[in-house]
Amino acid sequence: MRKSLLGAVAVAALMLPGAALAQSGTIKIGILVALEGAFATGGQDGVRNVELALKQVNNTIAGKKIETVVAPTDTKPDTTVRMARKLVEQDKVDLIIGPLSGSEGIAMRDFAKTIPDKVVINGISGALETTWVDPAPNFYRFNLDGSQWGYGLGSYVVKKKGWKRVATIAADYSFGYTNFMGFAVDFCKSGGDIVQRFWQPLGQSDFGGIIAQLPDNVDAIYLGLGGTDAINFLNQYQQAGEKTRLIGGTIMADQTVLTAKGRAKDALKGTPTSGPFSADNKDPAWTSYVKLYQESFPANQRLPSPSLFGLGYYTATLAAIKGLEAAGGDLSNGQAKFKEALNKLQLDSPVGKITLNENRQATGTVFVNEVVDGPDGNMTSKMVDKTENVNQTLGMTTAQFRALGLPSRDAVDCAKLRAGG
């Protein structure tokens, strides 16, 4: 009896500091970010950008001091959930910003449902399912998802370039399907036709077979590959003497590919791609952000200009700051005021105005870029077009979009969309 009493006192004592922390004048933010593996560089840029955004408000919101805790992941969903649990239970954070990659996002959507009193603001993960299939009421995403990133490119190539027949080669996994879907919906609705689709298993680096199968009578080839796979394809495409025009998915012509060593990337010259930002965007919101980023860190401690990952974490932190300010720093009652403020937020981000829909998914601007020769012999991309207010359902009604099915190999029926269905 005495023992159990003692135990109860001990437990109560253990619980006290936590309770006290929640009442004090600080707000703790957990940064959930991949710092190991393929996205490590991007993850570091994410952390840098959270710090950058918080520095603009002197780490103080509504009179409360902001503390941050970084929780590193390795892009594996189970690590992500474990680190998120550590942030909530051990570090007692008030909100989480993160994660970085697609499958982590889906895992965090499910984990968010187990901590309904905390807010999770997505870092830069882009899987459609995260905010589309059974979304969590306390999971907010202020960046566009993978299918939105592909939107606007299709109508651009049909209307401005006159390319109406394409064959497509894309990576055979979730992001490949999702990014392709955004392109295909827009392309088919604008009157384009997809003649043949190829799906490339990830890491299968010999493309000879696919290159031989490419049909001759197409205007262009859409490539939804990334990283090493993209380089390998371009290399072998040139060796086979092929010269058809190319259209790139979001990661086909990003910095990883454009800064690769060797001339393989030269085949990309003139290729239009689409994504959530343009490096040479002239909008003052963007240029002032880039300037702020470059001035805040010495050149050897940052990237030449903010990365996609950095931008995502910056926007998420900006949203957290604005939301907390609107709620007056009040996190009581299951963070009700904060959540309401986030739902109503009209965020002026470096890439334009962002609003949330009923699934707490961003509606915003998608940019079309073209690959051109850069000043130093490298390739760079030039902004040629943008599409504002791209929403989660890609301009369709929820019912129409749901009828497309989830992203998969044959999710988009091109002929049906062309006919107006």
Binding site: D206, T228, Q236, G262
Partner: protein
């Protein structure tokens, strides 16, 4: 010493013997060979095109597999020689491949000559191999497990050093001007029904020439192994190391030579890998795995086995990729499992 000659191809006598002993199998093999030759040489009738796709696709997958096999062979040949002679499962072999590729990129960009990269990389990576054997593996001779574990450690250290120096970007080497673009091969790709005009198969010339080079290197290795005194020593060492040492051969020099040669070969394969595909961190383990599968299928320690294994794995990978993309990755491992189940010493391995 008949056993030593396991690398020799079956002669006329063995062939006749085989036909006498297995008449049914001989007929099946003959029919398969004729069918294969028909598929490769004859223009395809419309029914075949309807069910299998254009002939061009089949030929491209086949040639892609053979040329990929050539690359695998160059990596695996050194691996299998080193294992056959010294019983070292050198798990740092993939790192030698990657180092060779990076060095080849540096040499090719600095000098502007792709061909020059080959001798330089062969010598430099060969030297790295010599140093590894001299300072590390020879210190723990006979302790196979220890050598293997140390080679894993080496591969991790080397991978991190390369990541530090060359970064995480991908590198690709541009083939020289005279190897760029496709060439026409004397294989019929298509015959126009109305005009009768023949289209010949167009295939990337760099891959054709690399295949030729790999065949030349393979034959040269076979000749050295089977027709020279050094080759005799190596073959004797493969069969019985102790006896060879006892008969007065300075076996450590033979070990050094073989290790250096195998490493240099892997380094040259790195240049070819960077020209075919590209280099980035992680390619080292990919090619280590490929050469492990190749030597398990072909038989540990046999050069001809490595060639056969590389050909089978390369063609299976490419054919699977074109005709059953979902299962292509499983296919190579299925082949490996089948070989392990029915002929654990490998197709041309000696039963030891």
């Amino acid at each position: 010493m008949a056993k030593v000659r396991h690398g020799k191809l079956p002669g006329r006598y063995e062939m006749n013997n085989f036909i006498k002993r297995y008449p049914l199998w001989s007929v099946i093999f003959l029919l398969l060979a004729i069918a294969f030759l028909y598929l490769v040489l004859a223009p395809w009738p419309p029914e075949l095109v309807a069910s299998w796709g254009r002939k061009q696709i089949f030929l491209n997958a086949l040639l892609g597999g053979i040329t990929l096999g050539a690359l695998y062979f160059l990596v695996a040949a050194g691996f299998t020689l080193i294992f056959g002679l010294m019983r070292i499962v050198n798990l740092a072999h993939g790192s030698l491949f990657l180092i060779g590729g990076y060095l080849g990129y540096e040499v090719a960009t600095a000098s502007g000559s792709w061909l020059l990269a080959f001798p330089i990389v062969f010598i430099v990576v060969g030297l790295i191999g010599l140093l590894m054997q001299f300072f590390i593996f020879s210190k723990m001779e006979g302790e196979e497990l220890r050598q293997t574990l140390v080679s894993i450690g080496l591969s991790i250290v080397l991978a991190d050093l390369m990541l530090w120096w060359w970064g995480g970007q991908s590198y690709s080497i541009l083939a020289p001007q005279f190897l760029q673009g496709p060439m026409e091969l004397p294989l019929v790709s298509n015959v126009n029904d109305s005009t009768g005009a023949v289209t010949w198969l167009r295939y990337p010339s760099v891959r054709v020439w690399i295949l030729v080079a790999a065949i030349v290197i393979g034959i040269a290795m076979w000749l050295v192994l089977n027709r020279t005194a050094l080759g005799m020593m190596i073959r004797a060492g493969v069969d019985d190391r102790e006896m060879l040492a006892a008969s007065g051969v300075r076996i450590h020099l033979v070990f050094l030579a073989v290790f250096g040669f195998g490493a240099g070969l892997a380094g040259m394969a790195g240049i070819i890998g960077a020209t075919f595909q590209s280099l980035s961190p992680g390619e080292d383990t990919r090619f280590l795995l490929a050469s492990l599968v190749v030597v398990i299928v072909g038989g540990m320690g046999s050069i001809v086995g490595a060639a056969l294994g590389a050909l089978i794995i390369g063609v299976a990978e490419q054919m699977g990729f074109v005709y059953a993309p979902t299962y292509s990755i499983v296919l190579t491992f299925l082949i490996m499992a089948a070989v392990l189940a029915f002929r654990p010493q490998g197709l041309l391995g000696t039963g030891r």
